[in-house]
């Protein structure tokens, strides 16, 4: 069990590592396209990869890099896509925010908030009679504010679709905290209203996420939609000026650009304060050769 858990952690750290590389390249001005990282979201992607069946489909949003890195063993093809190279996973045609990987069953990705719910319903409708295929659609707490979210819940429940709505709840939309922009949305009540099974992950703990996803998948497999809400702290520590006073600074989930303060040179610098991965690294014995490989890869790919 410990070895398996360690393996999951190493997968998550590898995703973090490549995000660090992307961030450094972004800081160096390498990219022509917008970059959205998912630092702090890695465990969710790893858990989904281990819940996902080969017949399933995955539909993603603009913040998708953690899933791309979790599902595609060849990280270089992801990096090449960001350079818009023909060797990229989507042949350089999609960049990051619309990146697809049909071979790994990532069939559609949209940079438009709330756009992918309906497309996911269509894919699920087509697969409804070919069980046990399940469609996973990933979005954040910002996307659930779009009207398309309510429509999709209604359609999914009405048509009995094999679909899992995976909501990463980091409470931020650009520079605005959820409390600044809207009333709290009680997803449990909303789901109950539409007859959609609601699964709340209370803590960002790998086992809990994995167990919740497994439950959600079982429900969806029997042609009933499920929604799983995962709390997540997006890290980055990127602060910008706000308001009239230039001295007033506030936390932003680095949607506005790269994480300027994050230029890790070795394994330990991959992590932040209050970082779930940092806590796990402390708790578990990460192999020293893995650490060394990470540092080498970090230096090699960043140069």
């Amino acid at each position: 069990v410990n070895n398996q858990k360690l393996g999951f952690l190493e997968e998550a750290i590898t995703i973090r590592l490549y995000q660090a590389v992307i961030n450094k390249r972004n800081l160096a001005g390498r990219y022509q396209i917008p970059i959205h990282l998912a630092v702090g979201h890695e465990l969710i992607a790893v858990a989904l990869r281990h819940t996902f069946h080969l017949s399933d489909s995955l539909i993603l949003s603009h913040r998708n890099v953690h899933y791309q890195l979790a599902f595609e063993p060849d990280a270089n093809s992801i990096l090449a896509e960001l350079d818009l190279e023909p060797e990229g996973i989507s042949k350089g045609n999609y960049g990051l925010m619309n990146m697809i990987n049909v071979k790994r069953r990532i069939v559609y990705t949209s940079s438009i908030l709330g756009n992918s719910f309906g497309v996911a319903c269509g894919v699920a409708l087509s697969h409804r009679d070919s069980r046990p295929a399940v469609v996973w659609v990933v979005a954040g707490d910002g996307a659930i504010e779009e009207g398309s979210f309510s429509e999709a819940l209604l359609i999914a429940a009405s048509m009995g679709l094999p679909i899992c709505f995976l909501i990463e709840d980091n409470e931020w939309s650009l520079a605005t905290h959820v409390s600044e922009r809207r009333v709290p949305v009680r997803l449990e009540s909303l789901c109950r209203a539409y007859g959609v099974e609601f699964i709340e992950i209370k803590n960002h703990v790998y086992e809990e996420i994995l167990e919740g996803m497994s439950r959600a998948r079982n429900i969806a497999e029997s042609c009933a939609p499920a929604l799983i809400q995962v709390p997540v702290t997006t890290l980055g520590g990127y602060f910008v000026s706000s308001g009239d006073s230039k001295s007033e600074r506030r936390f932003v989930n680095y949607h506005a650009g790269a994480i300027k303060a994050w230029k890790p040179e070795d394994f330990d610098e991959l992590f932040f304060e209050n970082d779930v991965l940092k806590t796990l690294v402390k708790q578990m014995q990460v192999r020293s050769d893995f650490k060394l490989t990470c540092t080498k890869e970090l230096v090699s790919l960043s140069s």
Binding site: S110, G122, V123, L125
Partner: protein, 309 residues
């Protein structure tokens, strides 16, 4: 002689029965009047998955792409084209995200165009050419007895397509005028001779959208000076291809439309025709008798185009 709704219903059933496991959905398509008979018999098609849906046009538009993405033919049927505007995000953004991929399965948005003319605020959007330009999705029109099966066949050929039928003509008997004969076909249009004379003179009418239905209907009233009719069933059109079919003896071209406003694409079409023409032709854009339009638009278009005799 058949009614228009019977003709489009037959074309729909014929297309769907030729496809493998199509998914067809929309409101009331398998209930009640079945959209005035348009979708009658759908639920008896063996392989088709036919679904009466809730009123969620945004998601239904997205689902059309989602189903087609998996390789299954998809058809979303709307009883009024205005409601498709609720799905514009998908018609523009989702289609844009899919452009680099080949959607091999048909992906059809079949809509009833409210062209009866007097709905006013109930129906503000039948500028299909504008919608087509905005989205990059071609539109096909069931604009006549010959054109209806052609439009359905083309729309269900694979790539995403709008497929438009006329509400105004639903119950009308459809028969080609006695004095019309199909002379030739181009890409997305048919050419009719309206006089026995093989070298027609006078005016050539280019009918866009669904307006050809009025001209080719038995009870329609084409002006006596009309020498030939080019009835289109596709947008966009290749104007050079179209003009090749205007006989040399024709001295005047009239472009008619059923669109509620003179849209930019239509103006462009007329302007292109004007530029492409190598002989003396004057152009008039004539709005359909009862169509709504923006006051002054006609004069503005004429001032843009000018005339050349």
């Amino acid at each position: 002689v058949t009614t228009y709704v019977n003709a489009i219903n037959a074309a729909l059933l014929s297309r769907l029965s030729s496809l493998q496991k199509p998914v067809v959905f929309g409101q009331n398509i398998a209930a009640g009047s079945r959209i005035g008979g348009l979708t009658a018999g759908l639920d008896e098609l063996g392989e088709a998955q036919v679904i009466n849906t809730p009123n969620c046009e945004n998601t239904l538009t997205a689902m059309t792409f989602g189903v087609a993405l998996t390789g299954r033919p998809a058809c979303f049927i709307l009883k009024q084209q205005d409601f498709l505007m609720l799905g514009v995000d998908h018609l523009v953004n989702t289609f844009n995200a899919l452009r680099n991929r080949t959607l091999e399965a048909p992906c059809v948005f079949l809509m009833v165009v409210v062209d009866s003319g007097w709905e006013g605020p109930q129906s503000g959007m039948n500028n299909i050419s504008s919608l087509s330009d905005l989205t990059g999705i071609p539109a096909y029109f069931a604009s006549g007895l010959e054109e209806t099966p052609q439009a359905f066949e083309a729309a269900f050929s694979g790539a995403p397509a709008f497929l438009c039928v006329s509400q105004a003509m639903f119950k009308r008997e459809l028969a080609t005028r006695d004095d019309c004969e199909l002379a030739a076909s181009g890409f997305g249009f048919n050419v009719y001779r309206t006089k026995a004379d093989k070298s027609p003179s006078g005016t050539a009418v280019i009918a866009t959208g669904l307006s050809g239905l009025q001209l080719l209907d038995k009870s329609g009233k084409a002006p006596p000076e009309v020498g030939c009719i080019l009835n289109t069933f596709r947008y966009p059109l290749d104007i050079q291809d179209l003009m090749r079919f205007v006989p040399e003896t024709i001295t005047r071209v009239t472009i008619i439309t059923d669109e509620k406003r003179f849209s930019h694409p239509l103006t462009s079409l007329a302007k292109s025709a004007f530029l492409v023409a190598s002989r003396s032709i004057s152009f008039v854009i004539r709005k359909q008798e009862r169509a709504w339009t923006i006051p002054g638009a006609e004069a503005e278009i004429l001032s843009i185009l000018g005339t050349r005799d």
